[in-house]
Amino acid sequence: MRYVDEYRDPALARGLAAEIGSLVTPGETVRVMEVCGGHTHTIYRHGLEELLPPEVELVHGPGCPVCVIPMGRVDDAIAIAESDGVVLATFGDMLRVPGGRGSLLEANARGADVRMVYSPLDALGLARREPDRHVCFFAIGFETTAPATAITLLRARAERVPNFSVFCNHVLIEPPLRAILETPGLRVDAFIGPGHVSTVIGTDAYRFIPEEFGRPLVVSAFEPVDLLQSIAMLLRQRVEGRCEVENQYTRVVRAEGNTRALAAVAEAMEPRADFEWRGLGVLPGSALQVRDELADFDAERLFALPGARIEDPKACRCGEVLTGQIKPWECGVFGTACTPERPLGTCMVSSEGACAAFFSYGRLRQPREAATVGA
């Protein structure tokens, strides 16, 4: 398949791995955080860490929207789903995220009408087809997904669909990056930026990272060759004494992003005062809410929501995994009390969560570390 096969070429990957080896200083560790869950998945699935010299350490960041949703918001979604005459529609992975009262899938088993969709536009289609029910779309995702929700809201208003709303949980990429960069004792030297988020917001949106925090960032696509090339670009910056934002994903990402997408999001949504993130706490201006002009489609105004803050289970160390302080296997419940079949923490739910990705593809590779944790 074009745009896939050429970026999985083993000869190209081996060449890039050799180049990376030539760009490191023996004994000097460079810690590179991949912000995006899609990159984490590629790294584990294709065994990229095996190709890298020991001087390059990959740290898995907070870029999985499922993993950062706090349990209280899941309970709010369950409250909507259990309201009379309501269909709650959302993406598949949200169905399994545990809240304080179980998951949406369990609510579905108790009788709530919860349905999986691939697009918010599909949820709007459900509302058109089932006028006797209210369809609420449980919206999650970074800037990549927010335009789809925005277009759906704007279409719902234009078509005057009376039985549709959005429970908006869209989050923004800059605030968590700032929170990580402001963490005392930060041990991340360079960043791999998310590819498709950057299609929307553009590479200029990351200039604060080199300018304010002195770390380079390379926006990267998602195939193995893309990621290896991005790591080589970051290391080349170090060797040449540069610190800037570079774009590896030139086949689709522009400096200014997609201005039409940004305008659609700005028309339908606005930043919240603050939003709670799993692992990072409450971050100001870090999420979007439905604008007043579209209040008729805002589930937070249409439904009475519990709005409770729920502590994560004590044994779960998702927060430390999300901020790169520990590796998945260093959590005491990893692979025992917490598995993809019965996740305790959100990092084990989505296949892009660092724990689930490591459980699926990497755990057999780390017998020494795993044994140490169990000791």
Binding site: C36, G37, F91, R251, R260, E352
Partner: protein
């Protein structure tokens, strides 16, 4: 080769390249591998048959490489 079926489009920041078969207003019919889907083209309003679009959650986000396939 197919796009990974196990991945969550949102969490993985996943978008797929799809070739436009036809356009009708703000909707386009696109080919993704061997499948045919409808996507919204509000954000790429000048999309036309043959274009390769980057699609995510039912909408086209961008045109790939500004390139048109025959």
């Amino acid at each position: 080769m197919t796009i990974d079926a196990v991945r969550c489009v949102t969490c993985g920041d996943v978008a797929v390249a799809a070739r436009v078969r036809s356009v009708d207003g703000v909707e386009a019919v696109v080919e993704v591998g061997h499948a045919v889907e409808r996507v919204a083209v509000d954000l790429v309003p000048d999309a036309r048959p043959g274009d390769v679009l980057l699609c995510h959650a039912g909408i086209a986000l961008e045109r790939l490489d500004s390139e048109t396939e025959a």
